[in-house]
Symmetry: C2
Subunit: 476 residues, 2 copies
């Protein structure tokens, strides 16, 4: 007998992801393997989400040495660590209360971090200023998004607030919006045109929302998660004009900005484009830009560090941010990782050569992985895989035989879930079904991370090919 | 000109704390000191919140060595670190995806952590079972509280949900409730009786809520934050009977459980008392218990680790917890700190002797600090300071002269804010004014942390005494 009869219905309505079920199954399989159960594979490979260190990418040594030294400052003495590591650790510990990473970090975080981020942004954007007061240190982009939406959305309002989200989407954009009582309004990216964002689509989405919700913001992801599309300046200008006209808040998820590998592709920040468009856009459009240490070359998702820059926000809204953020204690080591991402070793520093070597290795691995995946997958029947400009994912489309669709239906499952579930059971490979990305029924996709070692990618492609050929044969 | 006209009014209504203003001022003063400005003191001491490492308490070596080794696994080789540290690091890294602390940790966290917590609780509670599935790894007790309230409270309901909170309160209990659209219903602890909780007070609070809100839960803090009161078994049984009768959810904040120093005081968990009361209580009363690495002997607030145990929850409510928690990535190093807190070095381990020595030193420092503070403060005119049973704070009462109250009024401030503000300006000492703890107008208190080194406590008492004597003289 339970006494509790009241629970927030918004939470009850949060959609459970198919991927969560798959991941739980993957965990169970791993346990069975550990217990000695025989399967046609020795280990589970989970590339359903981008989790670089879990799939063979090595952490960058310099930052890990700094974190180890800050955790156990005795390492500042002696020569276990390189000189620049010890110096960096000394500086960072000097910024912690009592010289300890165990102290709470109250708003706004480590004393010099806001200024450091400001310099990084301004340098990246060719000199566009980034006032430190507009920068908030957070525990990753997911936390930033939750915070933003909790401030922007009044869950008790009717009609509810709406957030325009791209399809295919990053699942957290939708679940976080729904958790605060808002509505996700989908706009569709053009899969035939490399997942380009077309403004007509945005206008259509706004029309579709009439009556159902009151759209307050547009969410964009660049480089695209999970599409790999890198937006052009022209497209970004169009989008900025659109949010200006429609008085929408622009929420730019730019966490994959470091990984741009497509020919002719270049990452430009929304902040830079907005500033360069001049008035009335540059001093009116409200923008939040998110960045994190979890993606890119660092890939330190376990450390929980990131930042959010706010542009053109009303001072009264900023005040609310300050109040909410005063209560946020971001992990000190997450903040130190962020400091590292913004201030890597410089030429001449003892750690510079190794750092450059490690970065180059990750970059060439990514290019290799994408090239190999394109080649292997496009040689298979019933899969088509388009080139990507950047980001962390491949998103191949499956053309499943009628028999498979029929079988899935009989088992009460969607075809891509059916495919992913069998793939996991038979080969120990876990990928994300397209249905979790909002892709419409009738089209079938899988998403997998390219941020793996070359060996892991070879094994991913081997398992996927073997399974796929058999699957196509079995159901043809 | 701002385009954004909509913002969640619940966020706008979150009360800003006087302490936040004081802390911002303290940060400014610190910067001025660094810039060479002359003041009657060389540094700011902030004891307004319990932040042990910031105020001279040393971290426990074993755990820091483990964290350093996990961050930079090269340290597993060689003999920079003791053998048991290297072994623990190897085990913990074996539980991280890809053997890296940089991997995301998806629900339910590191594989063995739930079982480890379960064992710890059951051992602490004399064998009462603690099923691992009821245990959730979180990034500190503050995050746990936010999560709980966001699940329990439907912000769009009218009348809103209510949470019974003790006065003096832990500020986060109130601000988090208000942020989700709920109402904090105060119940007053008896300052004349060592801040004991009386059930008649709870009944009165329920009556006071009629019409204004619909109470759903009772929040208790044991050992009391900020009162230092340690609840007796009899009192806890009374409270459990009360929540049973009134069908309230019981939210037990037990983060200070390690620090019990009063004679005859003993920490007993609500879970244990509930289990030992038997049916109908033990299988009906819904309970959440919070614990964290931020307090107690570890004091690692910067690492962000903790857990929450749920008892007697309805399976449908548990399902909501799973969905929300699937999206929570708790810092891996915070989880490792939690593993350490639950599994300290054992007798015979290379690190055991040092660990014991460090723990004993912290314990005797706390006893020394409380004894000294009692002696010094009670010798001053216009301050009375009662003994505490445990927890992290002293909460002396101020008996301010009429002149001071008048002067505060003229400056448009509450008397204890006026006192704290002057204390900070004149001596560089930052303490928390009673008004932030919900204490009623007309009584004046200050709160300060006892989790400091002995030297820091001496300096705190020296500054406070000098200031207080002058203050009393100036306004008499």
């Amino acid at each position: 007998m339970s006494q509790l009869r009241l629970i927030n219905p918004k939470v009850q309505n949060i959609r459970a992801l198919e991927l969560d079920t798959l991941v739980r199954k993957a965990v169970r399989i791993e346990e069975e393997l550990k217990q000695g159960l025989k399967k046609p594979y020795n280990e589970v490979i989970n590339v359903s989400r981008c989790n670089p260190h879990a799939t063979g990418v090595k952490p960058l040594s310099f930052f890990r040495q700094v974190i180890a030294t800050c955790s156990y400052p005795t390492l500042i003495e002696g020569d276990t660590m390189p000189l620049d590591v010890r110096e960096r650790a000394k500086t960072l510990l000097g910024e912690c209360s009592g010289g300890s990473i165990g102290s709470y970090s109250f708003w706004p975080g480590l004393p010099h971090l806001q200024r450091s981020i400001s310099k990084f942004i301004s340098h990246r954007d060719g000199g566009v200023p980034a006032p430190p007061d507009n920068i908030f240190v957070v525990g990753g982009s997911h936390q930033a998004l939750k915070l933003l939406l909790s401030i922007l959305v009044d869950g008790s309002r009717s009609p509810p607030a709406g957030l325009l989200v791209p399809v295919p989407w990053k699942t957290t954009s939708v679940t976080n919006m729904e958790a605060v009582g808002g509505v996700a309004v989908p706009y569709y990216l053009d899969g035939q045109q490399g997942w380009r964002l077309r403004v007509e689509e945005l206008r259509g989405a706004l029309l579709s929302a009439v009556g159902a919700c009151h759209p307050v913001a547009l969410y964009v992801s660049n480089p695209g998660d999970p599409t790999g599309h890198v937006q052009s300046r022209e497209s970004m200008e169009e989008i900025i004009r659109f949010v200006f006209e429609e008085k929408l808040f622009l929420l730019a998820d730019e966490v994959h900005q470091e990984i741009v590998i497509g020919e002719g592709c270049k990452f430009i920040s929304y902040k830079k484009v907005l500033a360069e468009m001049g008035a009335p856009f540059s001093d009116t459009v409200e923008l939040a830009s998110l960045h994190s240490v979890s993606q890119g070359f660092m890939g330190e998702g376990g450390l929980r560090g990131g930042y959010m820059e706010l542009v053109n926000m009303d001072p009264s809204v900023m005040k609310s941010f300050y109040v909410v953020l005063c209560q946020l204690n971001v992990s000190i080591l997450g903040q130190m990782a962020l400091n590292g991402m913004l201030n890597p070793p410089k030429p001449g520093d003892p750690s510079h050569a190794l750092y450059e070597e490690e970065i180059q290795h990750i970059r060439s691995t990514m290019i290799h992985n994408v090239t190999r995946a394109m080649k292997v997958l496009n040689s298979l029947p019933g899969i088509s895989c388009k080139p990507i400009g950047g980001g962390a994912y491949m998103l191949p489309r499956l053309h499943l035989p009628h028999g498979a669709i029929q079988q899935a239906k009989e088992e009460g499952r969607l075809p891509d879930c059916f495919y992913c579930s069998r793939l996991l059971e038979q080969t120990g490979l876990c990928v994300c079904p397209g249905v979790d990305l909002g892709l419409p029924e009738g089209t079938h996709h899988i998403r997998f991370s390219i941020m793996t070692s070359m060996d892991t990618m070879e094994e991913v492609l081997r398992r996927l090919s073997t399974f796929h050929k058999r699957f196509m044969k079995d159901f043809s």
